[in-house]
Point group: C2
Chain length 349, copies 2
Amino acid sequence: MSVTIRDVARRAQVSISTVSRVLNDTCRVSEEKRRRVLEAAEQLGYRPNPVARSLLTKETGALGVVVPFVFGEFFAELLNGIDAAAQERAFCLTISTSHRHEHELRAALQSLHKRVDGVLLMTPEMPGEQAVAHLPEDVPVVFLNTRLSGDGYAVVNFDNAGGFRALTRHLIALGHRRIAVITGPEAAFDAAERLRGYRMALEEAGMAFDPAWLIPGDYSQRAGYEAVQTLLAWPERPTAILASNDQMAFGALSALREAGLRVPEDVSLAGFDDVPSARYTVPSLTSARVPIRDLGARAVQCLVDHIQAETPPAPRSLVLPVDLVVRDSTAPVGGRLHTAAIEPTARKA
Amino acid sequence: MSVTIRDVARRAQVSISTVSRVLNDTCRVSEEKRRRVLEAAEQLGYRPNPVARSLLTKETGALGVVVPFVFGEFFAELLNGIDAAAQERAFCLTISTSHRHEHELRAALQSLHKRVDGVLLMTPEMPGEQAVAHLPEDVPVVFLNTRLSGDGYAVVNFDNAGGFRALTRHLIALGHRRIAVITGPEAAFDAAERLRGYRMALEEAGMAFDPAWLIPGDYSQRAGYEAVQTLLAWPERPTAILASNDQMAFGALSALREAGLRVPEDVSLAGFDDVPSARYTVPSLTSARVPIRDLGARAVQCLVDHIQAETPPAPRSLVLPVDLVVRDSTAPVGGRLHTAAIEPTARKA
DNA sequence: TGCGTGTTCGAAAACGTTTTCATGCTACGG
DNA sequence: CCGTAGCATGAAAACGTTTTCGAACACGCA
């Protein structure tokens, strides 16, 4: 059926060893035979069988990518970064997604057994050490956006805390003192880090942290929308709202507008991630830019280095910087919040 | 290093054939030996090597997924559908993305040689027949969202034309006669289909098609934004704008708001795809719901059926229905468009 | 007892490569 | 002329499975 190395050898009148040697350029072969082999391979359209090869070499030329879920623009960007970097190094990508439960994660990791040379693992809601226990065998791993307690593994993260701290500082500098936060999923590592950045900024400014200003969210647009509805019923209203990601900020924005509150005149609003849409809302959204593509690319780089190194390199922990992006949704605190809510169309900025 | 079938055989005091037979349940084995094998495999933590297995069986248990690019929420949803369906049938996913040029597509397809049992191929900007010519060998293929001239291959598409026709009809029924369309990428199959739906609806209503009402776009938010800026300079303004996808509608919405035009009082606006965000804009966006997850799931189903059938089934062409979703961004034509542009805050619906 | 039949199981081939090992050849110095 | 080193090359082993083939054995029947 398929053309094998034997067919090439027969046609070139050489042994299969010679064919292998020519094609892999592994040692010297006479010019005459090299020509014959190349010609035969070309004519027959020979493609080596990667399965047979990897049975022997123990290399598959594939990387596993395991993520717990897939949502919106974030994941698309991440995959872009990963794929570009992998393609550059001639690796295929075997990806597995959607495992909410631990046993699903286990099944996903087990199914990669002997199929990949290394694994990119993103488990924001589970410590890296716990996830790695489900790996079938001793395979190189690099974590993305994951909490790691020790330093036994390589990990690439964003500076979630730093980014959120910068956002909070920005609001404080604008005079805001009542800053509500729509949080991310309770179990999520990055959400906790962002919250930590908020507390750091408050502390630095000598402001007290009050858990009453936190509204639980789950990174969905709907959560942002509902959070604002909750928040509008509070006795004292915030002058600024900090959403733990852009998606929730979008939801918040639409709830605010429906309620007749103007952004940023009545309430300042900011998000996190700086997804492409953030610049196209009205007003455009102040956010913190996380280099999503870079995250994927760096992780691949790290993993491939690990795979190709003869001696396993020391595990590295990489934290990518997050940049504050100030747009039109944040402004100095106005002080006329309550009246504005009553007469929504009375003023125009 | 790794535990093999030999280790299990030795420990269970049987031959490797027997181990294989027990583990694959391929023919009768005495109860005693079966027990011993199972026990030994369990104790050693034996996992069969899929590479060795597939060298013999010619099956890899993997599906290739090849898409030209990855953008936003659409792709995330698609992947969700594909992954869920594949996992259900115990297939891994090997995905390859980002090939703008034909030779990149070729390289991507070639790299799947002998690595996958079948390929899911999405090439909206290239006819299926042209893409399939780059496949390394005779491997089952199912197309997604791709133009297919003949009927030699299986394909799963949306009813792009029908959906867009429904949107256009909806606007016509609301009294709109000047309906501008922000088109998709010129080469894109789905964009062309949507445009065809627009023309069909016009024709059915006895209205003339005028290419002057078309503004070129490329499915990006930016394109929608810029399209509206173009359009506002026209001597005669449309009463409704139909964007070829939601992303462009979002961009258009923000440009309209910046220009002081109200949606839907001054201009009606609709999109296509009904991404999750569509219900969270203000006003919420009238759109056409495409069953993205289903697209992926059906394609996988189709492909796996093909793979597992002993005789290749007749290629099927599947067109998934698209539902009109009417929200707040479309309204009966007002007739006060021009004055409204001058006094944007004059009315409140 | 001899023979056919059916059942369980092990030996060995096969899959398509890479790599080791041995062999034959050439060239060269003594 | 001979031994040896170096080199090109082919034969064969190896990778870890599945599957075919045949052997061994038990059993029923003549």
